[in-house]
């Protein structure tokens, strides 16, 4: 079978059943190719579980089992005093970064990570777990150790790059826990504003090229923190902390002639930007300005005969692009998909 050829055959409609089967297959096991992304195991789980939730297909999975599994990744301080030791007590992303505490129950190898923590909490929300029982204070108090003087966040206390992705994760964590003590919002806002480029989009760090994914992180974080109000479009001419007209136009220009969205000017359309950039427009109240039919058509060229979606038309599907394309279809109001709380990356119901 010529896989390349058959996956290019015209698929005229959203193949709901195949996508649900794809996700369920992934739920039961990820092929070995995913071991390269093993460090982000919780993130992969989030893609599958949140994906199933969007399809309303979580009824057949054991939610308690999922919750227990997620909880097993949590890093626990031995005592409250530990929270001042500079470490972050969140969730690990994988078993390969988890190590047992020593004989006196001190967690000497704490590799918990901000992004994994966001994914953990998102999954717990989706399966309806009561978050008050996970000791949110430890997460929030220790999270402050990760915020940098310029307002950005490092994802792990042992040292890593600090950029907008983790500002988003931090904001999402506080939002989910409904407690903003873990983040200095003003500083975070300042950092985000410094990331707005001369063309209106946002780069991952100040000075870098504006990028669809970074722009989502910026706008979603500002929204979560309460710095972007509803119905922003009607307030475009009044003061807003970001240059909204420029951002709006930058975002809309990401839709290319083939209908798909690109992540940066003069680059190829890629299915995941239907969510990243589509999500920005949704938050701004400007999703209606996209040519939805054209976007839909493009996404369907990325739809795989195996279920799921690929990055570019006619390629093999992967979990990341599948999840974001599916999320984009929810934004496009594809029938029988649950609506999304865009800025949180989970369904409205879960949020």
């Amino acid at each position: 079978m010529d896989a390349g050829q058959s996956s290019l055959s015209p698929t005229t409609s959203f193949d709901r059943d195949r996508h649900v089967r794809f996700l369920k297959m992934m739920f039961h096991g990820l092929p070995s190719g995913y071991q390269e992304q093993e460090i982000n195991h919780l993130t992969l789980a989030y893609f599958v579980i949140s994906g199933l939730d969007i399809f309303g297909a979580l009824d057949q999975v054991d939610k308690e089992e999922i919750a227990n599994w997620v909880l097993s990744f949590q890093a626990r301080p031995k005592s409250k005093a530990d929270l001042e030791n500079g470490q972050f007590y969140g969730f690990h992303g994988s078993r390969t970064s988890m190590f047992p505490p020593d004989s006196s129950n001190v967690l000497i190898h704490n590799n918990s990570h901000l992004a994994s923590t966001y994914c953990a909490l998102a999954i717990l929300k989706i399966v309806g777990y009561n978050l008050s029982s996970i000791d949110p204070d430890s997460i929030l108090i220790s999270m402050k150790n990760l915020q940098q003087p310029d307002g950005s966040f490092m994802p792990i206390h042992t040292g890593a790059e600090a950029d907008l992705r983790f500002v988003f994760c931090a904001a999402a964590i506080c939002f989910v826990l409904n407690n903003w003590s873990g983040i200095d919002r003003e500083k975070a806002k300042d950092y985000i504003l410094n990331c707005q480029s001369y063309d209106g989009g946002f780069g991952l760090v100040p000075g870098s090229e504006s990028h669809g994914g970074a722009t989502y992180c910026a706008v979603a974080a500002l929204r979560l923190m309460g710095f972007i109000e509803d119905d922003l479009l009607s307030k475009m001419t009044s003061s807003s902390i970001i240059n909204v007209p420029l951002l709006l136009e930058w975002s809309l220009q990401r839709q290319t002639i083939g209908g798909g969205l690109q992540g940066r000017p003069n680059k190829a359309s890629d299915s995941c930007y239907a969510f990243w950039v589509g999500g920005v427009l949704k938050i701004l109240g400007a999703h209606k300005f996209l040519d939805k039919e054209a976007l839909c058509e493009f996404l369907l060229t990325c739809q795989s005969q195996y279920g799921g979606f690929s990055k570019f038309p006619g390629q093999l599907p992967d979990l990341y692009h599948s999840f974001y394309a599916m999320s984009a279809f929810s934004l496009l109001e594809e029938p029988d998909l649950k609506s999304l709380c865009v800025e949180l990356g989970v369904t409205d119901f879960a949020a």
Partner: protein, 332 residues
């Protein structure tokens, strides 16, 4: 089958590792979304766990981290431990730069590799200035829009210096591909932040000339249009008063009637209060097609109507703009 010198020998069969007891992964309660690890992967991580837990910082554990990284270049725990080992062994970090370069060949879109590179470069300080420029230049020669490489290059310039030829480098990349938005972004970065140039104000005039030339060469290229606008960031009055801005729009429209970027810049100028002259008005008039409904009552509305037609993908947006013009635009 010939024995391949690259064929992996399991750790369990390596004499130099015979004293180490591998630690298997504790998958915990019923694993959800389990990954089908290959035996090689599982075994390598079993041995990593062993040395990590015993905190063994030796040459053999350093080599082990290399194998683990080869299989799973994203594992930040392994990278972190590698850094601890390098420090303890007081290793020559120049070798480490070579190691990173080798790994990056097959894994260049990986945050951990670049973070590690930054860590090494920071330790080497200005000894690494040229090396970092060289390395990023190499990566960019294979992918001139490589996001990580550009971030690293920007970091390197700011922390280790080496700005001398950066503007020329941008010019060269733009010459090779005028559509390279990353190169245009880097150019903006250089003119605004280089300690060797005078900053945006000082550079504006020459940059406007440069950009106008690029626009005229390819009017449908979004990058120079954004760049041009960016040159007037924070100075709206200059944007409105500099004749070169309107003139490039009108010049483009005289030969490329459908140029969305020229039209949208004209629209933005009108919205900011630009007072159009007769030439401006006649160019816009000539773009109206005879089949358009009653002529719009003002210039900005006309421009919006033209945009609705020539940028049909975004016709909803241009229609909305038309109905939401700010007062400066409605008065002309």
């Amino acid at each position: 089958m010939d024995s391949d010198e690259d064929e992996r020998i399991p750790f369990s069969q390596r004499a130099e590792w015979s004293d180490v007891k591998p630690v298997s992964q504790d998958d915990g309660p019923n694993p959800v979304v389990p990954i089908a690890y290959t035996d090689d992967f599982r075994e390598t991580m079993d041995y990593f766990r062993a040395v990590y837990q015993s905190d063994e910082r030796t040459h053999r554990s350093l080599a082990l981290t290399e194998e683990a990284i080869d299989m799973n270049a994203g594992n930040y725990t392994v990278w972190h431990f590698r850094r601890l080992i390098l420090e303890t062994l007081n290793a020559d970090l120049h070798n480490e730069l070579d190691f990173i370069e080798r790994i990056a060949k097959s894994n260049s879109k990986n945050y951990q590799i670049w973070h590690h590179r930054r860590w090494v470069a920071e330790k080497l300080g200005t000894k690494a200035t040229e090396l970092e420029l060289d390395f990023t230049r190499k990566v960019l020669s294979l992918d001139a829009k490589h996001y990580h490489a550009w971030s690293h290059r920007q970091w390197s310039l700011q922390v280790l210096g080496g700005w001398e030829e950066e503007l020329d480098y941008c010019g060269k990349l733009i010459e090779e591909d005028i559509f390279n938005n990353s190169a245009w972004n880097q150019r903006y970065f250089v003119i605004t932040r280089s300690p060797l140039l005078g900053g945006l104000q000082a550079m504006r005039e020459s940059e406007v000339r440069y950009t106008v030339e690029a626009i005229l060469a390819n009017p449908d290229n979004e990058s120079p249009w954004r760049y041009l606008r960016g040159l007037y960031k924070g100075d709206t009055s200059l944007l409105l008063s500099d004749p070169q801005v309107v003139s490039v729009c009108l010049k483009v429209l005289s030969t490329s009637m459908n140029c969305v970027f020229a039209l949208s810049l004209l629209l933005d100028l009108l919205c900011l209060g630009f007072q159009p002259d007769q030439e401006f008005k006649s160019v816009v008039e000539s773009l109206r097609t005879s089949d358009s409904a009653t002529p719009d009552s003002n210039l900005a509305k006309t421009v919006c109507s033209v945009l609705e037609r020539v940028d049909s993908l975004r016709s909803n947006y241009w229609a909305w703009r038309k109905n939401n013009l700010p007062s400066p635009a409605v008065q002309s």
